[in-house]
Symmetry: C2
Subunit: 283 residues, 2 copies
Amino acid sequence: MKTVTTSARLRKAVKAARREGKTIGFVPTMGFLHAGHMSLVERARRENDLVVVSIFVNPTQFGPNEDYHAYPRDEKRDLAMLEQAGVDIAFLPAADEMYPKGFSTYVLQEGTLTGTLCGRSRPGHFRGVTTIVAKLFNLVRPDQAYFGQKDAQQVAVIRQMVKDLNFDVRIVDCPIVREPDGLALSSRNTYLDPDQRRDARVISQALFEARAAIESGQRDAAAVRELVRSRIASVPSVMIDYVEVVDADDLTPLQRLRGRVMIAVAVKIGRPRLIDNIQLTVQ
Amino acid sequence: MKTVTTSARLRKAVKAARREGKTIGFVPTMGFLHAGHMSLVERARRENDLVVVSIFVNPTQFGPNEDYHAYPRDEKRDLAMLEQAGVDIAFLPAADEMYPKGFSTYVLQEGTLTGTLCGRSRPGHFRGVTTIVAKLFNLVRPDQAYFGQKDAQQVAVIRQMVKDLNFDVRIVDCPIVREPDGLALSSRNTYLDPDQRRDARVISQALFEARAAIESGQRDAAAVRELVRSRIASVPSVMIDYVEVVDADDLTPLQRLRGRVMIAVAVKIGRPRLIDNIQLTVQ
């Protein structure tokens, strides 16, 4: 595995592979890798000749009062995991490599996709996401890029960006990986103390109960939302940011459940903010 | 010459050439071609294996009260000129091919480069420019892209975008082409009636007099600005939008002339808005 820290060296390494006709798979991450990330890496490894993984805690997608500086980092462990998984190129740029002095161009999405759910709670977050992903796509020019469904809104936003700005890349979204008790894997789970970790189980439990209700015939979005909301509210340490029942593709709120449906949740448990969702198709 | 109207067909045609190892030169235009455009096309032809020219009057770079609908168009004549010049691919998309329903992702530049000169008079203009150029760069993936120095601010904005978003393209800027009496070529010159056309000579005359003054030792930016301003104001039909003396690279206003200097002018003559500039290096 080649580890590179500058855009120039990354571009050179990728170009050499492209000249040989290799297909390129790309997994952008913020590091502190877990089995969720590794499921993306493994799929990229199976489907491409060359696999590039970036590790970059992207400052522009954090708000001023968010956890940019506290975000967990462990480069050494991350690199060992990527090496073990057969990754070809790891890209670990410094912040001023990606945002040098005078940086002033952003990719911005307007409308529903960025105005709802996490976009409402984290103004500017998706501008940071689309900007860094556009930069990384231009550097890597992957054939396929891999994203986790845990960040379902991010996937929808990036799909729209790819379409709108004519990026020539296929977006592959991969299932959420969960702990045995249901908690969605997240680098931010490391913030939880043992009590919070136990209480966090209620997020996925509420979502699974909602799925069971829908599978038993529930089609009223407000009832599903209330089921999830009240289940989570039963655990006092878990503060709800939002519970929404939306169309899984365009993220607009639903009244009757039909087609591809997503139930999305964001909560705070103490300081950490955690998100989760389930997606299902309703006849 | 191949004429294509869809992004999918453009991408396919360009990919075939790239697979053969051809270098790609790209000239984005809004059509109604003149010798200024053709100087870009000829240079692209000399420097690349494959030359792609786009003709697209980009709605997002026009303000609500600007001349989008009136902008001159003559596809048949344009295509004949491109064919004659040895262009390989002409791309003429419809507006809804580039901006389909639901389009919502823009490339936006903040700061001095877009906040001054035409950016002040035409809010949103450069957002439209960076968005369409980003789209076209992603479709064509050129090695070189060619722009005219008449739109000097546009060149500066695009250079910054390329750097910030890591586009892998070399920006080539080419000298202004002028009528025998000095008027900078522009598709908008066609709006001028004979009196206005005669009066328009004052723009370049004022700029050339300023250059002569600088070459004779004038180093005070305010004096140069006043020289240009008063010379243009001597023709009553010509309304000044701005006259600015700026650093040619970062477009910040100058007090003493030194280094790469640009004198930039925008005027209205009746309805049409015309721009011009000269750039020179001052010891």
